[in-house]
Amino acid sequence: MDLAELWSPIALTLQLAAVTTVLLLVVSAPIAWWLARSEAWWKEAVAAIVAMPLVLPPTVLGFYLLLALGPDGPGGAIAGLFGGRTLAFTFEGLVIGSVIYSLPFVVQPIRNSFEAIGDRPLEVAATLRASPWDTFWNVAIPLARPGFLTGAVLGFAHTIGEFGVILMIGGSIPGETKVLSIAIYDYVETLRWQEAHILSAGMVVFAFLVILTTALIDRRSRSRRR
């Protein structure tokens, strides 16, 4: 059994999940804020678009992403700027796919937290000379901390467990796109059960820890709010 060969997909997966989570938080905060505060009638349509990855089969999402990231899609055009031909089958492509795939898992808890704040703290901040921008950073975000924590944990975990989308847009290039779930699939295909066992059991423990962590965050924020 080659330890380096086992470690490579783990490291790649952690790297992908970390980059994806940071991007997800940055992208989700303004979307969640708008969804929580806007009175536009069409905001639920936007919310539905954000939530679609929950329902769509990953292969469908992956198929369209493949077209979008490929040489003839916008992804290819962007890749062209950096001297590449395509974003499909690259780490960057995986990050883009993962962000879209996990978006609802991050937007929803943050939106809930923003909504739970209500109007009052924002009005109080306004009467205390805080501009809307100042209020967003120094009142809304700190008060929505539990939502950001839950969102970060869920986004990270969901990216680690990703399979279908990555299979479609990334294939199985070792060190580049061969993440954990793909590696397990390959090991099983080639009847290397021992390696598959090690990685799978690790995932079971990881999943348990994630769920426990979110439950604990949730409980703590609720007991603080009383």
């Binding site: 009052r120 009005e123 109080v124 009467t127 205390l128 000379r129 805080a130 700190p142 603080r224 709010r225």
Partner: protein
């Protein structure tokens, strides 16, 4: 309009509710926006803060905050206000000290240190007794403590006007009594105007100098508190059950043996307070001899007699004459106004009594006030039978 005034003309519609108000009030002292629940007083206050937009014009001193006709609308965070909400609404993610400094830091960044600064932060903290709370989290505070922090936070942001929206209504009786003395101290110490929304006549009588009486989205009356409260035609708006008069009185002597305090009733004249030579006694008041107090005497606690009664347990019998009788058709009652050597009392008696005693305007009468009937709620902590007495301020304070 003069520079030393707050003037508001606001109108608009919220659902089926229509609001149309215009008033001016001086740039000092406490002005109560007073009226029954749902009359629009909170909406007016929120408009002044810029939190709810209505059409109209709003000027505070020299600054125009809103003028719809000229397209002016200053955003709430650019208006120099302090706003105290019904619930303290402290920021849960900040300590008490950081809550207090939240507005102050931003006001200083925006305007530099205000030249018209009236109170230093130490003074505010001292005045509201906040020192022991500074390092604590908002969670552990009692309702009264939270509201004191909220008032301090608003005051520290260099406001030109302090807006308070029923700041006591979410508190229980104990917490109210704990916080009221702090409000009295503020009232005496602050030189910025306070707009105070309330539906509680006792609170208004205790704290306010001027009153803007509202009902159903309209202004019904404005003026000094004592004048508005004694106008009989305003009965329905000021709350008939709680209708009463605000009377000033000077402490004459303490009669320790009977646990009573004797006070001389004062008349409010154009040259200040003048003694009327009529006396009241009430259960011991914690005030020095010579000090002036304000009392609120409810109309339903005053009875009238045409001759000085004898053999009566009521000790407070005041002689005066009837200046107004307003019968309330469809009910058993009539509202009357009695002049006591320049001070005025309201009495609520039955229409049958008016007829049988043949009471007419100008008749000499004796007003009977039950000693224990002074409104106990208005005084600081203590038993329910304590009188409603509090210090009056001189006109220039």
């Amino acid at each position: 309009m003069s520079v030393g005034e707050i003037s508001a003309e606001l109108s608009g519609r919220r659902g089926a509710f229509e609001l149309d108000v215009a008033f001016t009030t001086p740039m000092r002292g406490v002005t109560a926006l007073f009226g029954p629940s749902g009359c629009g007083k909170t909406t007016v206050l929120r408009c002044i803060a810029g939190l709810d937009p209505l059409r109209g014009r709003l000027q505070v001193g020299e600054t125009v905050w809103q003028d719809t006709a000229r397209g002016i609308f200053q955003q709430p965070h650019t208006r120099e206000i302090g706003y105290v909400f019904q619930e303290a609404s402290l920021f849960d993610h900040l300590s008490v000290g950081d809550n207090l400094m939240f507005g102050r830091r931003r006001a200083e960044k925006r305007n530099g240190r205000s030249k018209t600064e009236s109170l230093s932060s130490d003074e505010v903290i001292d005045l509201l007794g906040l020192e022991p709370l500074l390092d604590r989290d908002p969670y552990g505070l009692s309702g009264g403590e939270r509201q004191r922090v909220a008032v301090g936070r608003a005051l520290l942001s260099y406001p030109k006007v302090l807006l308070m929206d029923e700041p006591l209504s979410a508190l229980d009786r104990r917490a109210k009594e704990e916080i009221l003395p702090y409000f009295d101290a503020l009232h005496q110490r602050l030189d910025i105007p306070i707009l105070y929304v309330s539906h509680d006549p006792t609170e208004v009588a205790r704290l306010a100098d001027q009153i803007v009486l509202m009902g159903n989205g309209r202004i019904i009356a404005t003026g000094p508190v004592s004048e508005v409260f004694e106008r009989l035609d305003l009965g329905p708006a000021t709350g008939r059950f709680e209708a009463g008069a605000v009377v000033s009185a000077r402490v004459r002597e303490h009669m320790a043996e009977d646990s009573l305090t004797r006070l001389c009733i004062l008349a409010d004249t154009s040259d200040g307070l003048r003694e009327t030579g009529q006396f009241l006694s009430l259960p011991s008041v914690n005030a020095a001899v010579g000090e002036d107090l304000r009392l609120r005497i409810r109309a339903r606690d005053v009875a009238l007699a045409t001759r000085r009664p004898e053999g009566l347990s009521i000790r407070n019998v005041l002689s005066g004459h009837l200046t107004e009788i307003v019968e309330d058709p469809g009910t058993a009652f009539a509202e009357t106004l009695v002049d006591i050597g320049g001070a005025r009392l309201r009495a609520r008696i039955t229409r049958a009594a008016v007829r049988e005693l043949r009471l007419q305007t100008g008749d000499p009468v004796f007003a009977l006030v039950k000693t224990i009937s002074f409104d106990g709620r208005a005084i600081g902590a203590g038993g329910g039978l304590e009188p409603a007495a509090w210090r009056t301020r001189g006109p220039n304070e």
